[in-house]
Amino acid sequence: MSATGLSSTSAPSIAEPPSTATEPASGRRRRRGMTATNKRNLRTGLLFISPWIVGVLVFILYPVTYSIVLSFTRYSGMDAPTWVGVQNYITAFTDPLVAKATSNTIFFALIAVPLGLLVALTLAIAMNQNVREVALYRTIFYAPSLIPAFAMSFIFIVFLNPQFGLFNQVLNLFGGPNINLLGDPTGVKIAIILMAQFGAGNAALIFLAGLRNIPKTIYEAARVDGAGPGRQFVAITFPLLTPVLLFNLITGVSGALQVFTEAYIVTNGTGDPDAGALFYMMYLYKTAFGFAELGYASALAVLLFLAGLALALMIFWLSRRFVNYDVEAA
């Protein structure tokens, strides 16, 4: 039984290639059985995508593998790496700044990701309204995502100025006190979380695609059954958006673990006050390029990768409980 109350049918997915009785069992036999034209097409195809293949091998697979190797060495970027075994990993687990940077990053992820999903979903619903000016609204809602992170950071520094910034001017209007968010270890994290919401347009576009993929007939049936907008959202929209929600959640968590630019600019690269905005990537960057400890920085990168992988696997595992893939069937 699906979350929408509709049972799935046995109709084949359109993505599935049609099976033929004459198709050879193994890939090798299939290749051998290729016609000259097919072989030429395959070669041409591979040639055309070769820049991408080379790019992945040279700029992703090689650096990742090399980084894993370096994580077991002491390496400054100049002399040959010296093997130190798991020393870098032991150091990472006893380094007070790693603990601080990790807790800051978790704080950021726990608030910024759910809030980001909520903002993106709200924007997507607004973009999906059946009004004449919808194209204009979509542009307006998406436009903040086009502002580069460094520019947004400078805007926020002015916006949050404790005396002249718009944020405090509005607070003053309601009799509130002047708040210097960037001068407080927790406040600076909150400011960066708020800044991150201006990039919600990308996730909103993906939510919008998901919204538009939900068949209108389901809503029509629900309306006939007397369901109001709230009930329709809970029983139809949200369940059928869960695959998109899963995608946005995974990318959101991945992005949150790598938060860097805003914090680097707002704090002048220090992460202060009191290391309140020293996020994991910032500390990793400092370790690598400030202190030239590339081996240790590689170990930090591997740990980040493992943490990201574990989180993604956990989310996928949990997703079996909340993700609904019945929209195609519907």
Binding site: P96, I157, N180, A292
Partner: protein, 459 residues
């Protein structure tokens, strides 16, 4: 055009693009070309003035000196130079913050200059290096080898706005470096009298905070005899009682002038990344701050009519000498440079008497070359800083210098903010830096480090 012709054509175009781009990167080469990563864009004229002077000498005939400004994203960001050296595009000469020399030498980024002195000079390296201030040479020394020549130096002093002090009823004689060295207690009282608070509790005018501008842990640490490293035991000593007392100073001031209020004041009148003209001191909002001779240039440019003056750093007791510390730059040779006699001659010219006497009067800082100091080749307004030099020293030349600086700067904020006690801050710094230094077991700083340096003309 069939597919084969298209693919061949695309391949040729791609290869041509790669060839053209790699040709574009390579400039003139050879023993008569020196590629130099110089000062920042605003100081290019000074580098160019030295270059022109060198080209007019006998050694400079036929030479070509290519000056590049490579923007650095931070004092301790080595990514550009490491990338250039590893990529085979290292400059032959690099204008570098001297403080990073030992760290950079320890990772193999720099060439020692002692072999060049032995090859091209008629005197021993020790005698040759006596032309420069000792602490500046010490800061470039790693494992008995020198990794560059010091070009400029400075010192930290108290910068104050006479107008603000007078409006607050302060007797300016107290700040006259000829008459008096202010004590911490006196400074606190002056700060109280300057500071004005509005109805909401915001500082409208502010006196002084020891953690702002150049108020680093080192700035007060040398006066309180706090040492980072003990040569005798080869250990980091960032948890010593002296360091605790440095952090107690920050905590003590923050109790009366809370960190959050001071931060709000600066964020309002001198926000981060603001242009140099937007200074709380220039706008008459700030009474005093910690600064150095490099500020003279900015003061003259942006506030020529404002009576801004310098005096000694405060002392604990009236009869003790004021102590400070000096930073500055150097010229170093990165690994992979084309090391020739021509390069040595230019390095010697630029960092020696001729280059320093051209640059320093324009730059505002002090020379490190003793002859240039003796002949007053600097802005006369920096004379007080020359007087400070005998009681000044460099930051400790350690392979973990950047990390130690970073830790001290961070915990300074933590203590002022109240999230760490002075003892916790000292212990935290020790826990962070000592393991990094263990990789250099038995390391010793130069024996002369921390001892008074000979400075001509200083009292």
């Amino acid at each position: 055009m069939d597919r084969r012709e298209f693919l061949v054509g695309a391949g040729v175009v791609t290869a041509a693009a790669f060839t053209a781009s790699s040709c574009a990167r390579s400039g003139p080469t050879g023993d008569h070309v020196i590629r130099y990563w110089g000062m920042g864009a605003s100081d290019t004229d000074k580098d160019e003035a030295v270059r022109e002077a060198f080209l007019a000498t006998e050694e400079g005939q036929g030479m070509q000196i290519v000056i590049d400004q490579v923007p650095s994203s931070g004092v301790a960001d080595m990514s550009q130079i490491i990338t250039a050296v590893r990529g085979g595009t290292a400059p032959d000469l690099w204008w570098m913050d001297r403080f990073n020399a030992v760290q950079n030498a320890s990772i193999g980024l720099l060439e020692p200059i002692d072999p060049l002195i032995e090859e091209y000079e008629d005197v021993s390296p020790e005698e040759f290096k006596r032309q420069w201030i000792q602490f500046a040479i010490d800061e470039l020394t790693y494992d008995g080898q020198t990794y560059g020549l010091p070009t400029s130096t400075d010192a930290r002093g108290l910068l104050y706005n006479e107008n603000v002090l007078l409006e607050s009823g302060i007797d300016l004689d107290m700040f006259d470096p000829e008459q008096h060295v202010i004590t911490w207690d006196e400074l606190r009282e002056v700060a109280r009298r300057i500071t004005q608070v509005d109805s909401r509790g915001n500082y409208e005018r502010f006196g002084f905070a020891p953690w702002i501008d150049e108020g680093w842990a080192y700035t007060w640490g040398f006066g309180l005899n706090a040492q980072v490293y003990d040569n005798a035991t080869a250990t980091i000593t960032l948890d010593s009682p002296e360091w605790v007392s440095v952090f107690e100073l920050f905590a003590d001031w923050a109790e009366e002038f809370p960190y959050a209020s001071v931060d709000a004041f600066y964020a309002t009148y001198q926000p981060p990344n603001s242009p140099p003209s937007q200074s709380a001191l220039f706008s008459g909002r700030l009474g005093m701050t910690t600064s150095g001779p490099w500020a003279i240039q900015g003061n003259e440019k942006y506030a020529p009519d404002l009576p801004l003056s310098f005096t000694w750093l405060p002392v604990t007791h009236a009869d003790e000498p004021s102590r400070t510390w000096s930073g500055g730059q150097s010229l170093v040779i990165p690994k992979g440079a084309n090391v020739t006699k021509n390069l040595w001659e230019y390095l010697k010219f630029h960092a020696g008497y001729p280059g320093q006497s051209i640059i320093q009067p324009l730059l505002g800082n002090l020379p490190t070359n003793l002859r240039a100091i003796e002949e007053d080749a600097f802005n006369p307004k920096a004379e007080l800083f020359r007087q400070m030099l005998p009681n000044s020293t460099s930051r400790p030349p350690l392979p973990v210098g950047s990390a130690a600086w970073d830790a001290l700067a961070r915990t300074r904020g933590s203590v002022a903010l109240g999230s760490m006690s002075p003892t916790e801050a000292a212990q935290s710094n020790q826990a962070l830096i000592a393991p990094k230094m263990e990789l250099f077991a038995g390391y010793t700083m130069p024996e002369t480090y921390g001892t008074p340096s000979e400075v001509p003309g200083a009292q």
